[in-house]
């Protein structure tokens, strides 16, 4: 696969930015500064990063409740994300949405989502708009193994093939939907096996290998752009944290987590790039330092920002 060194370093940087941002979010949550639910993506960063590395600014994504990674990978700025998570006026949604609803339509981010399985029809709809207006753009739908069992997901995939929509479905199979293990919630070993029912290509990839994700999704995205219709790519992965912050996670074995931590996509890619001579150890340190500074600045921005004024409660319900 043809890929520049710069692109690989950029992917490494994005994965690291996601990880660092979320670790800080988890600390802030533990400190009681973040209300509501926070779902972290730690361990799954290679998926959003590998997929979005193929996307253009004009392309669309739909995200999930576990959305921080998708947003950052699609170009979301962490200062506005941090402000949103803290409920501040300067956040992406003026504090009205919070972690579960961060969106920036101008960046092609049609939102994190609080409803499991809501994304696939929305992504198909975004793809319909792209096809209808001949935009040359495509849509990508990130969804979980849990979401793969919702009727909405099946309906969207069927319609996407019927209408040959330029959409790519990215299943993030982390083996659990809260406590529900895929061994009990699905009757086929792979979500991608279902692709044949919709007459679209279905591929399984190692979701902890950012290059594998980049390549497989690159093929599917190319296909969509050329008007050949939708694809389904299943990325096998694992979440490092509980379903939400505060989840005691009693339904998973500790050893299972340890095994998957061995396959952590970030150190894995780092070692690979250093071994290939793409990055030096020195460069790794520089990247980490820069990211740390950016995060501190983002947090300062968010902390210093005001909460929305109560007079803003009633605005944004309707378009005038």
């Amino acid at each position: 696969m043809d890929i520049s060194k710069e692109k690989m370093v950029e992917m490494y940087t994005i994965m690291s930015r996601i990880r660092m941002f979320e670790l800080r979010v988890s600390e802030l949550f533990a400190a009681g500064k973040i209300p509501g639910f926070v779902h972290l993506y730690a361990g799954e960063e290679a998926i959003a990063t590998g997929v979005c590395a193929n996307l253009l600014g004009s392309d669309y994504i739909t995200s999930t409740h576990r959305g921080h990674g998708h947003l950052i990978a699609k170009g979301g700025e962490i200062q506005f994300m941090m402000a949103e998570v803290l409920g501040k006026k300067t956040g992406y949604c003026k504090g009205k949405g919070g972690s579960m609803h961060i969106a920036d339509v101008a960046l092609g981010i049609l939102g994190a989502n609080g409803i499991v399985g809501a994304g696939p029809p929305l992504a198909a709809g975004a793809a319909l708009a792209c096809q209808y207006q001949d935009k040359g753009a495509i849509a990508v739908c990130f969804f979980g193994d849990g979401a793969s069992n919702q009727g909405t997901t099946h309906e969207a995939m069927n319609l996407a093939t019927c209408w040959k929509l330029p959409v790519v479905f990215i299943a993030e199979n982390n083996m659990y939907g809260i406590s529900s293990c895929t061994l009990n919630s699905m009757c086929v070993p792979n979500i991608a096996d279902r692709a044949s029912a919709y007459d679209m290509p279905g591929v399984v990839v190692d979701g902890n290998d950012v290059m594998a994700v980049f390549e497989a999704s690159g093929e599917a995205i190319k296909r969509a752009r050329q008007g050949q219709g939708p694809s389904l790519i299943e990325c096998k992965t694992y979440r490092h944290r509980g379903h939400f912050e505060g989840d005691p996670c009693a339904y998973r074995r500790k050893e299972e987590l340890e095994e998957w931590k061995e396959k952590d996509p970030i150190p894995r890619f780092e070692q690979k790039l250093v071994a290939l001579g793409v990055m030096s150890a020195e460069q790794v340190r520089e990247i980490q330092d820069t990211l740390k500074k950016q995060l501190e600045e983002a947090e300062r921005f968010a902390e210093e920002s005001p909460f929305p004024d109560v007079s803003e409660l009633m605005s944004d319900v309707y378009t005038a």
Binding site: G87, K88, M100, N149, Q150, G151, N184, L313, M314
Partner: protein, 325 residues
Amino acid sequence: MPTMTFAQALNDAHKLEMLRDPNIYVAGEDVGIYGGIFGVTGGLLDQFGPKRVRDTPITESAIVGTAVGAASCGLRPVVELMFVDFIGVALDQLFNQAAKMKYMFGGKAKIPMVLRATCGAGIGAAAQHSQCLEAWFMHVPGLKVVMPSTPADAKGLLISAIRDDNPVVFLEHKMLYALEGEVPAGDYTVPLGKADIKREGKDVTVIATAQAVHTALSAAEKLSADGISVEVLDPRTLNPLDEEAILESVRKTHRLVIIHEAVKFAGAGAEIAAMVAEKAFDRLDAPILRVAAPFVPVPFSPPLEKEYIPSEEKLIRAVKTVMES
């Protein structure tokens, strides 16, 4: 009487009924191994096993739809929607199937099922995890709608709901789960369709539901210091609505304020106010006032969410207004 939380009281009701009737099964997302996200179904899987306590995939339409189908064939499902906001995914199975089968089939079907769901704002869960949608369900002939405010009522009403031969939507406000109170041990029922006076008073009736009952009780305490005697009435069941209890209270106090957390426009309070206006207009000394959420989705940011939720201050102001006219 033992003291229990609201969540424990609901758990107790499940256990007692499941022991009594082998046709009851429980299903929903994370109700088994996890014991329910809010802990209501904890221990049921261990006690009753996977045949009767079923962890489902994320598939609300099928959770509700299988309950309707099974209920029509002799089982008594008690299924959980983790958040009432998710009813959108499953709505057809509830309002076109569960609610209408009996009528459409000329009475030759019954659907004895309970759909439990968490509702309400207060934890920063934002627009898709915080709604109060009871008015949606009230509007559908064929459904019963229950909304308890105390641990004892939660237990007694859930047992009645399970024994009822109709589809019952049972709404649990998430801010109540940790609330403690005395709960009668063993078999205990609170009849559906029967309101409860949570505090007696003579100057003004405040009708309140779920979490707002506690807002009303606290406001009533403060108002009594100003010499205003407030009667707090909790309908407990919104459909069937205990019209007689409401009218009796209003005939005594001649003033009515209604508080609920759902948006005011076309909310449960609108139905109650209209009913009172139709049936007891001449007994009212002041216009009926409603204190409820503004017409806006539930916001995330804490100051906005706080402003959204109908407050004690707003209720006190409304009570003083009706007292002045």
